[in-house]
Symmetry: C2
DNA sequence: ACCTGAACACCGTTCAAGT
DNA sequence: ACCTGAACACCGTTCAAGT
């Protein structure tokens, strides 16, 4: 999984999976996910596009690599003694870790992925829920709900960021605030509330 | 917005926005979103790729068109008298309407979008929440939470479907069930629970 | 063993020209 | 006014060849 082979003889490797993933991450953080192309990674490394395929199976594999090395950077908080508080801390760590790089939802949308390097968060959450008195089944369901909520939040936040980056007022806000009071009285009443888009955890 | 112009003289139109959107929808439902290319739409209509741009601004605009005509098909349930029940009915309508075409999360991930033809669902939910005694602010927040939860569910479901379509067991399930009991005791305990992936509403 | 160059089969979109 | 053809600037990836 790390080096392609123990490298017995032959031409010495100039690239490595680590280097390729690193270059990909640099590109994403500098120019956004949409700038991540195999050809750009190659340019970043000063090599031909095809050299990359020696160290990474395909673009998806590369993306998982970046995801994994990102997850490794999520800071591990000093956990409280109270189980309930511990769960919240872990949720916050997960949420903040992901929110920092909101492009991950693009990857998440692609397929079901999980970074092994972040399993400790899952462990803390599930353990905390059990310590709160939940059954194993309830804990599993609880984790699923938390994950679902988090993914939803990331996705919405990303959409809003995108249009914000374009300098336009979000399409959703525009539609919801300019609603016809005759047709949609309740929506018209709450219209002023939408602008106050705050951020919260689970 | 509908026809490009009232069409005063000149060459008669063979295509229309309606036809283009219809072809796009047919392609998506037959072959999946990844098959939706401008060139494929053109082929479906027996025209040149560029003819399409006369009726649709760009690919995003086309996608919004499909989304809108899909939303128009969401059936409107006979609503209960109890406000709480009404909210649940509307949530279910929204969820089921979206779940039927799970590719919409791809579009949602692209940017913040909303189909005007489905605002009635939003109206019912917000009105119902207010009737339940929530303040306008609470109702707005409540709707946001429901939407977030729904989007998260769709996204996860889509990821699982994708890998299921490939015939593989989901990556997430694989990782979570093969976890090291030493390192992650709580995860090992709940491991048997993950397989039972059921479906629920908010 | 590792890397390169040329090539394949695609994209979305612009632009000038036809009818 | 509507449509077409050719072209541009891209993609990810395969394959045969170089070192």
């Amino acid at each position: 999984m790390e080096a392609p082979t123990p490298s017995r003889g032959g031409r010495p490797a100039r690239l490595s999976r680590e280097a390729v993933v690193g270059a990909a991450r640099a590109i994403i953080e500098r120019d956004g996910v949409e700038a991540l192309t195999m050809r750009n990674v190659a340019r970043e490394l000063g090599s031909s596009p095809m050299a990359i395929y020696r160290h990474v199976r395909d673009k998806d594999d590369l993306l998982v690599g970046v995801l994994d090395c990102l997850a490794a950077d999520v800071p591990r908080p000093r956990f409280s003694n109270a189980p309930r508080e511990r769960v919240l801390q872990a949720c916050r760590a997960m949420h903040d870790g992901l929110a920092e790089h909101d492009w991950v939802v693009d990857v998440l949308a692609q397929g079901d992925l999980i970074a092994r390097t972040i399993l400790w968060v899952t462990e803390v959450i599930v353990a905390g829920l059990i310590d709160c008195g939940l059954s194993e089944r309830q804990a599993a369901d609880g984790y699923r709900a938390i994950w679902q909520f988090t993914v939803g939040e990331l996705m919405i936040r990303r959409g809003l960021r995108r249009t914000a980056a374009l300098g336009r007022t979000p399409f959703v806000v525009e539609v919801l605030t300019s609603v016809d009071a005759q047709e949609f009285p309740a929506l018209a009443r709450v219209a002023p509330q939408w602008a106050a888009a705050r951020e919260r955890d689970s």
